[in-house]
């Protein structure tokens, strides 16, 4: 069976007058509709909990500074105007905590704070910026923009060939460099929200591996029970499904550490070390090959119902209503067959 055979079956219901092109164009939408009515398709995958650091030259070339930023210490810029450092998170973040080892000195240094929106670096709306002339803990806090993009900046020359750069990037640039650059001992990027894929509709289970997380639906309740939940750092215990323009998952509290890079291999095929990465089981919209033959009949019925309810040659509202009723009957029957095991 295939999409073509579903279209033929659908056209049987329409006495052969259904427009194949139109039926084809509706197919994906009907499958999505079916997956909402019968949310049985799921996927499991690892969401990487990691961040990267790059040191940037004014010409756009970069060197990988991740290891330096995470443990050994990293200069904030060079002594050249326009030099920078970039922080890229696999998740969204709005706070970066620097521990400054050596303050900058000399000159009249000026810094800009920007984020990558998929097309340009735009200025961040900052709540607080680090004082690079002081030692100790300094924070960059900003309002998370609506248009963040998990793509590599186009004018950035990656540090090595297989660098994919799929991160949310923030850039700190010394537009006017000091005569002695500041150096940080450590950087903490406080990631809190990770985007879901377009096909993922709902979270079935989520672990901050290896620990299962509890779903929390009501942010207002968190404000009462855990007033500092937005900034609290610690091993995550809960998650909140964020439903903005795209679905995402926010961890509470914010994870203090990154995931083990060995977890990047994936979850299902091999046993991998996944500690502190996220393992997501999510309900998804199925792809064409995921529709089993015993469900293709429902797709054909839904397609025919939709086609017969639109204006035009195939218009037959009564048929549409009856087909929809039959579809609902069959979906109830299938829910009963599957029972609670495969639906919850």
């Amino acid at each position: 069976m295939s999409r073509e055979s579903v279209l033929v079956e659908s056209n049987d219901y329409l006495l052969g007058v259904g427009d194949p092109d139109h039926l084809l164009s509706e197919y994906a939408d009907v499958v999505r509709e079916l997956s909402l009515a019968l949310p049985i398709w799921t996927t499991a995958r690892t969401i990487v909990n990691q961040w990267s650091a790059l040191r940037g030259a004014p010409n756009g070339s970069t060197t990988d500074g991740t290891a330096l930023a995470q443990s050994a210490g990293m200069p904030v810029s060079t002594l050249v105007d326009g030099s920078s450092h970039l922080l890229g998170g696999s998740g969204k973040f709005d706070t970066v905590v620097y521990t400054i080892l050596t303050p900058h000195s000399g000159g009249t240094p000026v810094y800009t704070y920007e984020y990558w929106n998929g097309l340009y670096f735009l200025p961040l709306v900052t709540v607080s910026t680090p004082d690079w002339s002081q030692t100790g803990v300094q924070s960059l806090v900003f309002i998370l923009p609506d248009d963040v993009s998990f793509t590599p900046p186009v004018d950035m020359q990656p540090p090595y060939d297989d660098f994919d750069g799929v991160r949310f990037w923030v850039r700190v640039t010394a537009t006017t460099a000091p005569t002695t650059t500041a150096a940080v001992a450590t950087v903490q990027v406080r990631q809190h929200t990770w985007p879901l894929d377009q096909r993922e509709q709902d979270i079935v289970a989520l672990s901050y591996y290896p620990n299962d997380l509890t779903r929390t639906e009501i942010v207002e309740a968190l404000d009462v029970t855990l007033p500092d939940w937005r900034t609290q750092v610690g091993p995550p215990r809960m998650y909140h499904q964020v439903e903005e323009t795209a679905l995402g998952v926010r961890l509470v509290p914010l994870p203090p550490t990154q995931g083990d890079p060995n977890g990047l291999l994936g979850f299902l095929p091999t046993a991998a070390v996944l500690t502190n990465n996220l393992v997501l089981c999510a309900a998804v919209t199925p792809e064409e090959g995921d529709i089993p033959p015993w469900l293709e009949g429902l797709v054909a019925l839904r397609l025919a119902a939709r086609e017969s309810q639109r204006l035009g040659e195939t218009s037959a509202p009564d048929l549409g209503k009856t087909l929809l009723q039959l579809t609902e009957n069959l979906e109830t029957m299938i829910r009963d067959v599957l029972g609670t095991m495969e639906l919850r």
Partner: protein, 198 residues
């Protein structure tokens, strides 16, 4: 168990189309194929065992890869001992490290329909068995043997006639009623089915 073409006369007679003028053989076959699938699901008629190859350290498995024709998981065993089927929500409550806890698997669970899991996570490769409800295969020829017991032939005929009445004849309420009767979807459907014979 008979073949699809043995039911053909009952269908065309009910449609008053014994000479197959209104309805082609291919259309009847498609409707009958669908009818057989729905009847096998409704009455849970077909069950099949599948091998469950478990891999060391892997808790989750794609159902499609292990048991492509399966509809619903019915039971499982490992080394001759039964695997209890448990809801994922209960397992998560019982052990927050359900994806990691290692040991000889004793539980089987579903992550909705697409994924199966075992708990505890096997420490070494091993092989189990599962039994699943399966759906009938798609009918492609009239001489294909039906997979349902003879006692359910009437159900297949009624659903096939219902689908064709609904669409070919635009006799929508009659068609829907036949399908509902064939699948015993509504109260009183059984009585109606008893009044409709092959």
């Amino acid at each position: 168990m008979g073949t699809a073409d043995q039911l053909f006369p009952s269908v065309t007679a009910a449609l008053d189309d014994v000479h197959r003028i209104q309805t082609t053989e291919a259309q009847v076959l498609r409707a009958m194929s669908r009818a057989q699938q729905w009847v096998t699901l409704r009455y849970r008629l077909l069950r099949r065992p599948f091998v469950l190859p478990l891999r060391a350290g892997v808790p989750l498995y794609h159902r499609e890869a292990l048991a492509p024709a399966s509809v619903s998981l019915l039971s499982g065993s490992l080394g001759g001992l039964p695997l209890s089927i448990t809801p994922l929500s209960a397992l998560r409550y019982r052990d927050p490290q359900w994806l990691q806890t290692s040991g000889l698997p004793t539980l089987l669970y579903c992550v909705r329909w697409s994924l199966w899991g075992v708990y505890p996570v096997p420490p070494v490769d091993m092989t189990g068995m599962v039994s699943c409800l399966v759906s009938a295969r798609t009918l492609t020829t009239m001489t294909q043997i039906l997979e349902v017991p003879d006692g359910y032939r009437n159900n297949i005929v009624q659903v096939t006639i219902g689908l064709l009445l609904l669409t070919r004849e635009r006799a929508m309420q009659q068609g829907l009623a036949r399908i509902q009767a064939g699948l015993e979807m509504t109260a009183g459907a059984v009585r109606r089915l008893q009044g409709l014979t092959v």
